[in-house]
Symmetry: C2
Subunit: 141 residues, 2 copies
Amino acid sequence: MGDDTSLNPRHNKAEVFARLRDAHAREVTEDYVEMIGDLIAEEGEARSVALAERFGVTAATVNNTIKRLERDGYVTSRPYRSIFLTEKGETLAKKCRERHRIVYNFLVSIGVDPAVAEFDAEGIEHHVSEETLRVFDSRLK
Amino acid sequence: MGDDTSLNPRHNKAEVFARLRDAHAREVTEDYVEMIGDLIAEEGEARSVALAERFGVTAATVNNTIKRLERDGYVTSRPYRSIFLTEKGETLAKKCRERHRIVYNFLVSIGVDPAVAEFDAEGIEHHVSEETLRVFDSRLK
DNA sequence: ATAGCAATTTAGCCTTGACTAACTTTAAAA
DNA sequence: TTTTAAAGTTAGTCAAGGCTAAATTGCTAT
């Protein structure tokens, strides 16, 4: 606040878009830790090949992404071995899973077809603030 | 359908993520045509400097994006002059503005603070399917 | 024990969308 | 009319997130 653009609220959109760009930067990370968590729960371990199949990307792309997640402290991995979540990754995965659940259930509760809700929730979940999430959740009670 | 992954619905997520990636590719385009439309409506013309200020990016970034929008047929522009929407751009802008309005009004209607709703709508609008949008809209009646 | 296949990694390429720095054009003030 | 500031453009860089092709590793069945 205090800059010239804040005088007119109609023109003060830059912050909104800056936060939007931040959200984008986090999306792939969130989707990966969530999926790695799912794979460990469902299949006992998270392998590159399973991530590639579920995201619909190549193994090379998965490899790149896992390196970045490792660099950023969300996962650990050793060459030719499966992938593990760190504490940090585990925490994020849990938060994302819960958020996904709330968004999905909310959409279904207002009458969206479950298949469509699954689709939309995957995109929407990354852009729902804590406050909006609480409103969604309160509507499920 | 018909591929091996479709046998187990839990594992058939690739299509969801492919559509999510498509949505991302369209987001910047949608935000720009919407903003260009707003600027023309509010100020009579859309200049690079105004786009840069409202999105919170540099003039160089705006320039790059406008070139891409021009390549893709959404806008026309001549060097050192203001930017115009084509028919195609106009149509998209109108659709986006309407979608934004519905998402925003829906969030406010369920109790989200207007400032938060403005924030969240900017991210959510790109990930709401036609069907979910209709459900949102029907709830506003 | 090893041959061969599946999984993983590496290398190199592309586009998008961001940046800075330097340059050019336009338009307004002196 | 000239100077100068604002606006726009260009060039070069970077990271993310895709891809293909080729090399390497690990596992399994013979």
